[in-house]
């Protein structure tokens, strides 16, 4: 029996077909997820939902405390992580050259990036909640989230700084700037769009995080009033409503608000990146 040889052209067509199919499936899945969530949830999203407190374990009323919880945790998480992340990037790019020290620092950053969120949750619980005595609180949650997003900020900030042309630095130094002056007046401002992108990515991560948040910020439905109050985020709320079967309606409504927030975050990032590219090209 002779072997049938498939012509390369035919193989290519088949391969191309499969690849197109794969891409369409991928985009399709994304569209499906977004549209499904919005479809099932948007009808229940109204002003009351966004501004009222939940009643009856979340079966009715609104989700305001979870919105506040999400905003507060993301905000503090970023406020804590950003100085450390940007500072680390500045040190790596401006103050040292590649060697054993930078390898150690990078190893730390990479390792942190790989740790599963549930392990962060366990750590946050044992360290912040118990050992440091902060209890289930915004503080515990924000500190844990800050460590989680540190790698993201370090990586984007480092890339942004490395993209700043060295000529800017040399000009500034030639004009009599101290190194830190050069960094503050030239390098950092030039790297700012990239750095802000990283920060917004970090915010997005905080908004979507659930496992670590439940174990550190708790799941109280009460409006958080201080750094030491427990707080529930929208992701956590969504999870609890969905899994405990409390209310599909409210779950999807929360989900819709979540997805819209993520969409907004993404739009802002892309706008920033476009601005960044436009600035480069204009030169």
């Amino acid at each position: 029996m002779t072997r049938v040889r498939v012509s390369p052209k035919v193989t290519q067509s088949m391969a191309k077909g499969l690849i197109w199919a794969a891409t369409i499936v991928t985009v399709g899945v994304l569209l499906f997820i977004v549209i499904y969530t919005l479809a099932r949830g948007m009808s229940h999203v109204n002003w009351t939902l966004l501004t009222a407190e939940p009643a009856d374990m979340g079966r009715s009323g609104g989700i305001l405390p979870t919105i506040v919880g999400t905003v507060v945790l993301a905000m503090f998480g970023v406020v804590i992580a950003a100085p450390f992340g940007v500072g680390t990037a500045v040190y790596l790019v401006e103050y040292t050259r590649e060697g054993w020290l930078t390898r150690v620092i990078r190893f730390g950053v990479d390792a942190l990036a790989g740790i599963p969120s549930i392990v962060y949750g366990l750590f946050g619980f044992v360290f912040f909640v118990l050992t440091l005595g902060l209890g289930w609180s915004v503080a515990s949650g924000a500190l844990t989230l800050a460590i989680m997003i540190l790698p993201t900020i370090v990586r984007t900030a480092e890339e942004a700084l490395r993209a700043v042309p060295d000529s800017y630095r040399e000009v500034s130094l030639s004009l009599g700037a101290h190194k830190w002056e050069m960094i503050a007046t030239v390098a950092l401002p030039a790297a700012l769009p990239g750095i802000v992108t990283g920060i917004i990515l970090g915010i997005g991560r905080c908004v979507g995080e659930t496992a670590a948040v439940i174990l550190t910020a708790g799941s109280s439905l009460r409006m958080p009033t201080s750094l030491f109050s427990p707080a529930r985020t929208m992701s956590v709320h969504f999870f609890i409503l969905a899994r405990e079967g409390i209310s599909d309606e409210m779950a999807w409504a929360t989900g819709a608000v979540l997805v819209v927030s993520i969409l907004l975050v993404n739009v802002v990032i892309n706008w920033l990146v476009a601005r960044l590219i436009r600035r480069r090209v204009a030169r």
């Binding site: 800017y168 000009v171 500034s172 130094l173 030639s174």
Partner: protein
């Protein structure tokens, strides 16, 4: 000993300079740079001219693992001694680069950048410096209505003169220029050469020219460097009419390069 009978502003004394990779970039370089004159350091690529310029304002401090032998004196003071304040040095000896490189910002922000980080805060004083520097760079009339436009909106030649104005705002004693007209058209180049001629009345100019012809046009003192060594030093007209060294003559007449 200076060729003009003028006082030497900068004295390079037996300077050798080593990068981490093998061959020295500079070998036993010795000559004096006269004040208020144009010194042109020229020669084929790789000759060490850029390195030498960067040593004069200690910009090469940024490079790791290098070694310097010999001394460089500014007004008799060793610029590499621990007592020398690098920041002050860079304000007195200011560098203009080969590619126009305005900082992101407006024309005004570029020019007053140096004085501002030097601590000048008085807006009146800053405006004075702004106008004075732009006039000395022969571009005040061109940009006086565009001071708050982005520096990048200027033409290439204007940007380079802006860079010169930027350095002038610090009222330096020495101006270092590394191939300042290499990216510019002939008309802009001529304007810059004229500007440098008039600046040389008050400032010491050290120039690595973009071409040998530029060296011939501009040099009060000409220094020919080949592979990290100084081959010949002489007043410009003298060196280009009657070079002493055969290598100089070969290079000038284009037998190699």
């Amino acid at each position: 000993m200076s060729a003009h009978g003028l006082r030497p502003k900068i004295q390079v004394q037996d300077v050798s300079y080593f990068y981490p990779v093998a061959k020295p970039a500079l070998r036993h370089v010795t000559f004096d740079i006269p004040e208020r004159a144009i010194t042109a350091i020229f020669g084929p690529a790789g000759g060490g001219k850029t390195t030498l310029l960067r040593l004069l304002n200690r910009l090469n401090d940024r490079v790791y693992d290098t070694r310097l032998e010999g001394r460089i004196l500014l007004d008799g003071q060793d610029i590499y001694s621990p007592a020398m304040d690098v920041i002050q040095l860079r304000r007195r000896v200011s560098m203009v680069f080969d590619l126009p490189n305005p900082l992101p910002g407006t024309v005004r922000q570029n020019v007053i950048y140096g004085p501002r980080i030097a601590g000048v805060r008085d807006p009146v004083h800053l405006d004075e410096l702004l106008e004075q520097s732009l006039r000395r760079a022969a571009m005040w009339d061109e940009v006086k209505d565009r001071l708050d436009d982005p520096a990048e909106s200027l033409s290439g030649g204007q940007q380079q003169r802006l860079c010169i104005a930027r350095s002038l705002a610090l009222e330096p004693e020495v101006l270092l220029l590394n191939k300042p007209t290499s990216a510019l058209d002939p008309i802009s180049s001529t304007k810059i050469e004229e500007t440098l001629h008039s600046l040389a009345k008050t400032i010491t100019i050290v120039l690595s020219p973009s071409s040998t012809q530029q060296a011939a046009r501009m040099a009060d003192l000409a220094v020919f460097m080949l592979m990290g060594e100084v081959v010949e030093v002489a007043p410009g007209p003298t060196l280009f009419k009657r070079p002493q060294d055969s290598r100089t003559e070969d290079y000038i007449t284009g037998r190699f390069g």
